[in-house]
Amino acid sequence: MTDKITFELDGRMVEAEAGETIWQVAKREGTSIPHLCWLPQPGYRSDGNCRACMVEVEGERVLAASCQRKVAEGMKVKSASERAKKSREMVFELLLADQPAREDSHDPVSAFWSWIDDMGIAPTSRYPKGKRPEPDSTHAAIAVNLDACINCGLCVRACREVQHNDVIGMGYRGHGARPVFDFDIGMGLSTCVACGECVQACPTGALMEANLLDEKGKRVQFEDKSVDTLCPYCGVGCQTRVHVKDNKILYVDGRDGSANENRLCVKGRFGFDYIHHPDRLTKPLIRRNGVAKDANMQLRKEDISEVFREASWDEAIEFAASGLKKVHDKLGGAGIAGFGSAKGSNEEAYLFQKLIRQGFGTNNVDHCTRLCHASSVAALMEGLNSGAVTAPFMAAEQSDCMIVIGARPNQNHPVAATYLKDAASRGAKLIIMDPRGHGGGLGRYASHMLQFKPGTDVALLNAMLNVIITEGMVDIQYVQAHTEGYEDLKNRVADFTPEAMAPVCGIDAAMIREVARIYARSERSLIFWGMGISQHTHGTDNSRCLISLALVTGHIGRPGSGLHPLRGQNNVQGASDAGLIPMVYPDYISVEDPAVHAKFERLWGRPLDPKRGLTVVEIMKAIHAGEIRGMYIMGENPAMSDPDVQHAREAIAALDHLVVQDLFVTETAWHADVVLPASAHAEKWGTFTNTNRQVQLARPVVNPPGEARQDWELVQALAQKIGLDWNYKDVGEVYTEMASVMPSLDNISWQRLLKEESVTYPCDDPGKPGNEIIFSTSFPTKSGRAKIVPAKLLPPDELPDEHYPMVLTTGRLLEHWHTGSMTRRASSLDALEPEAIASLNPRDLEKLGLTAGDFVDVGTRRGSIRLRTRAERDVPEGMVFIPFCFAEASANMLTNPQLDPLGKIPEFKYCAARVEKAEAGEPAEAAE
């Protein structure tokens, strides 16, 4: 028996699948039925409330909403009977009565007005107008004009069911019903996270991008073209459609991408205009003669010309290259280092590491992966010989249990978080482990919230392993067939009973047992983690524990299970894959493997450095030691992102020659000898690999401003200047060469990407989709087995004491990206989070005699910063959280540069700190 259904549609017999609606079948059959509250897009269920899609079903007393009604065998449907047509037209006429006139409307090209056109009905109504709500202009990015609202509830579904942000409800009832934010307060005063899903869903323009409207709320900005590309921010890799007018981005919509299904977050949707900021570099700059470098400098915009002079491209490239050459001539490759960027494309990363390795004969090339997931990758390489996720985050959809530890996807991977919240809503267990609470965001969806003591991850996780082993929940068959090292683990964790670890990590033994059981016994369990795991001196050990959990329970390599370190930057996966790492060539092949070394010397025609290079923090130390004297920094901002950033700034300022390639005069560029104006994400071709191992294509949306040039061209220009024979014609050619040395990109050609937009690696065949779930049969290790490595219990490097009694932890805010060089120049994001804050528990504020909003000095053994306090229940007592994106109070002035021994990642997540009321109140404005 098949699930096919045959029914009559407008006098014709048609076939449909069981479960399809009349609207869907009609659409397929070429019949267009008007619809307003129905949005035929992923994640949106039909609601059937607007009644614009009514059809007549024979034998039924009333009409049926075609978006809602499922077809049934033998049903006879008239999609356009007089009665149905009249009814739909009346619905529009009733709605029209209350709409603003089209010529004054918030969006004259909205779905609503388009249907009026398509149906050929009059744009006016015979019915009297009702009382309409007032406009709400409290939000910086979104204009709320509910006079155009038709109560279709798409915004409610967008907010509640698609993005699970739960801010919009339908308040009141009857004709008084209308969308409300929280308790019907202004959108800008509510818990709204400005993902803008509601704006994208709204069919009338009642919710609009504020920048498209004039002060009366009338839409005055219309795009002249739209380009499909990617979001520049996080590792989720959302696909976007960018709408442009006169070479300026007007607004951004989500596209139906493999990782985002039309969804975006506030950064992706509203954080686009940094590329048009007046700070944008449009001409190359060369440091003026005699202007000394000083680590303490604060370079104001208006004073840039005091430090730098504009130069021609020829001079700037010549100057940049010759400076590096000079250092190289004197000190050899060991005197040079390069920082590429996880914000750049795969092609840029590939070319950059190739330049450093081939051109300067050194492996001193690294990027910010060192500061984010280096320890995770170290542990994954050690255990599985693969540094990427084993399952995409959409695997949450099939999962029964998800552990989220040391990650705050609601802030840092908001679109990925929607899939987790989806899964939790459907009933999957969501176990969150984090010293900080997850409040009304992910926390509301958590089945278990374990707020453990910071830095005690190993205690908690080893205790879970102890429970799994002692209670017989190990998947012995899996362990025997696919792993090695289990006995060591068993011995190591024997002492880690939940009862012994409870006082260490602050979680009840019973709770540890409960979550261990849920994780182990669920059919499909998945682990997500982030910087809370990796940014510790024991980050590798933390990750080893998570890998062990998955391996001993066999929760890996199957749908809905696996390991997913949520990658931070939009291309941190790709930049790492492309070899922007000091120890490895592209595809993680050791630079110290003689055969590989020989292969690349042959390919690149030059002697290459046989030893691994230095990592980010090691490079800073080497500069202080006088070993490294010249650097090329493309798109990175170590003067903000490095731990103990004063020390890093002193290093950067001490260089003989520093070439910075960026969009702005960043804090790093203050100390440059030459600054090369480069291209923003929205201005370039390139491939980017997201956290799911999806290689995706970005297209240029606008032209770079002024004389700014493509990054890959600049790398090539420098290469040519130092004598390399590079002649890439375009980005596609770079990709093709890169793919030729990266087996991971087999079957993913540039041509294929142009056509398909996104392909997951590894991929077995040019005609097949890539493998989302990997390691279902074996691991890419020599033995084919995964290695279980037990973890030691080590305390954080710097524990609180009487002088520094609190714990400082750093991280991100939803609105700001990394060091803030982009997002703080994005007007909407700046408006939403305009200045530096330190979050403390309200009780700690009280103890300190502070009111939320007061200024404090936060000090550590490295330095002190002054900033405004924020009272947050999510921050436990005894902790202060500071986002590191704020230049005026750089959190990294405070952080501890101690490294994880294997991953070489610093302990951003834990150091001892002191918080004091700032005596002088706000930071003083400079005396004029």
Partner: protein, 574 residues
């Protein structure tokens, strides 16, 4: 140039003063996370009111009642705390709280309402008996800390005008009486004398249920008897009860059951009558039904306008449990909160789940997908009330009571211009003329002009159609229906235009707002009907789309009275 950043020449280049950043620097950071700041005091107060966890989200409306009862309103802070404890977003709490008329949400900074609320019924029968004058009189009284609000039907049409002072029910209300009650704080429900459990058992009560529980009778036999007796859904739809049970039983368990005690149709008060006089006969019927469909849980959804009934049920149900009469099912009372739409069975189910009362689309029917998406039996109070007697006295006894080809007994709620209004228990299929006669005839000085055969939504018939049998399926050809058998008698003193407007205002207030034809249609209709002369074409077009395209019966029927007036009383439109 400022002194801050640079020194010319070869000297050190220093930064000083306020640290600089790339932002615009025009705004200050908010010292709290996004949104309203939760006050720990609110958390403490709400936790004390709703008790210890675990909390159940579907009980949201019950929790809201606890706060409203304790504080006389729902301050924003308390709602925030409630959402926090229940892990429910603010928007969800707010949309539920603002949907129901009996909740007074007080935004931050706004004033709390007066401690005592007088709700004066403004539905048709009370209006005809002078509710407007009563409201005016009360509003002119000096009553500190008392507010007077208009309310839809409170099920006292036979004792109109009626009102509630707090939860205290006032029949034949006068301004003096109401003032006295309000100022003296008589705000609690007055519990009528009702048949106790002991009396009911003494008279043979619960024998049938015990027989069922002891498997002395098969479910199929029970169903067959109800079908033979011709028992139909007396909430207004008239669906054969036995067949409904069969449908529900055919669905895979676990199954649920709900009793629709949301008797909100203006003019209807029969359920209240039985619940306040013989609650155990109803409860026995309920438990027989629960047994028959093997309901895992039974929810008795009772309208908040019947506080005495809620008290009675909450007092009596534990006695049944103690007596071992509820061995296999959980049974609880869920309190409505002032929303007519929750009498619509799927809206009621939404409300039972702790949500706004929005009717669901059909199919699927609630028998298939009901409470928490489980197959659900929904029966009306009176339907269940007759079951013990039908099973005891036999189907023939019940079936033979009808007239004019109808089967069974019916409880007509008769109000309006008759001498002795009240519940008339008589033969199904009786005519309005029979009913007027049984009610002692028309009021002196009133001449029979027309009648509402089925409450606010059943349309209006002229006196010339006074010989129609008032039964299911008989009136549809006249644009009317009998529904819950609420018959309101109108006289030559009543202006049909005003009557229709009163009814349309009721629907406008009570529309849930979900679908366009009803939400906008009722609002536009009120505007059009308030005009001096009615625009027939506009109203007809409106009626058509409301009837054809509304999601539920409310919108589909809301224009019935309006169309009746156009059709049967054209002279009143002149």
């Amino acid at each position: 140039m400022s002194d801050v950043t640079l020194k010319d020449g070869n000297g050190a280049v220093k930064g000083a003063g306020k640290a600089i950043h790339p932002g615009a620097g025009r705004r200050k950071a908010v010292p709290f996370p996004k949104g309203r700041v939760l006050d720990p005091v609110d958390l403490e107060v709400v936790a004390a009111l709703i008790g210890a966890p675990p909390y159940e989200r579907p009980l949201l409306i019950e929790y809201l009642h606890k706060i409203q009862d304790a504080e006389g309103c729902l301050p924003a802070g308390r709602l925030h705390a409630l959402g926090d404890l229940l892990k429910i977003p603010m928007a969800h709490v707010y949309e539920v709280a603002t949907f129901y008329a009996h909740f007074d949400v007080v935004p931050d900074g706004a004033e709390k309402p007066a401690a005592t609320t007088v709700r004066v019924c403004e539905s048709l029968s009370c209006m005809m008996a002078g509710a407007e004058q009563l409201i005016a009189a009360l509003q002119s009284e000096n009553m500190p800390n008392v507010r007077v609000v208009r309310a839809p039907c409170i099920g006292s049409c036979h004792t109109a005008p009626a009102c509630h002072v707090g939860h205290h029910h006032v029949d034949h209300a006068s301004a003096e009486k109401v003032k006295e009650l309000a100022l003296e704080g008589h705000v609690h429900a007055n519990i009528p004398d009702y048949q106790t459990l002991g009396d009911y058992i003494e008279g043979g009560g619960y024998k049938v249920l015990r027989g069922c529980l002891a498997d002395e009778i098969a479910v199929d036999d029970v169903i067959a008897r109800l079908s033979d007796g011709g028992l139909r859904g007396l909430g207004g739809a008239g669906f054969p009860t036995g067949r409904k049970w069969t449908f529900v039983r055919a669905e895979k368990g676990p199954r649920m059951m709900a009793v629709n005690g949301d008797e909100g149709e203006p003019g209807t008060f029969k359920d209240r009558h039985y619940l306040e006089t013989r609650p155990h006969q109803f409860l026995e019927g309920t438990l027989i039904a629960a047994w028959a469909v093997e309901a895992e849980e039974v929810f008795i959804y009772m309208r908040d306008e019947y506080p005495a009934v809620i008290k009675i049920l909450n007092d009596e149900i534990p006695k049944l449990q103690a007596a071992g009469l509820v061995p296999d099912t959980k049974i609880s009372v869920r309190r409505g909160a002032g929303a007519y739409i929750c009498g619509e069975e799927s809206a009621m189910i939404e409300s039972i789940e702790g949500k706004r009362g929005l009717p669901r689309h059909r199919p699927p029917y609630v028998a298939q997908v009901g409470i928490f998406d489980r197959p659900t039996l929904v029966n009306n109070v009176e339907t269940l009330y007759w079951i013990p007697q039908i099973l005891e006295k036999g189907p023939e006894w019940f079936a033979s009571q009808g007239t004019n080809d109808a089967k069974g007994l019916r409880s007509y709620s008769v109000s309006g211009r008759v001498k002795n209004p009240g519940v008339v228990l008589t033969a199904a299929g009786s005519t309005v003329q029979d009913l007027i006669e049984q009610c002692g005839g028309m009021l002196d000085g009133h001449e029979f002009k027309g009648y509402l055969p089925g409450g606010a939504s059943g349309g209006i018939l002229p006196a010339s159609k006074g010989d129609l049998p008032l039964d299911f399926g008989q009136l549809e050809k006249f644009g009317c229906f009998v529904g819950s058998h609420a018959v309101v008698i109108l006289s030559d003193k009543d202006d049909m235009k005003d009557v229709a407007l009163n009814l349309m205002r009721f629907f406008e207030d009570e529309s849930c707002g979900q679908c366009t034809p009803c939400r906008n249609g009722t609002e536009k209709a009120v505007q059009l009907m308030s005009q001096e002369s009615w625009d027939g074409q506009l109203l007809e077009d409106l009626s058509k789309v409301m009837a054809d395209a509304s999601i539920c019966g409310l919108g589909q029927a809301a224009a019935n009275p309006l169309m009746s007036v156009i059709k049967y009383f054209p002279e009143d439109l002149k």
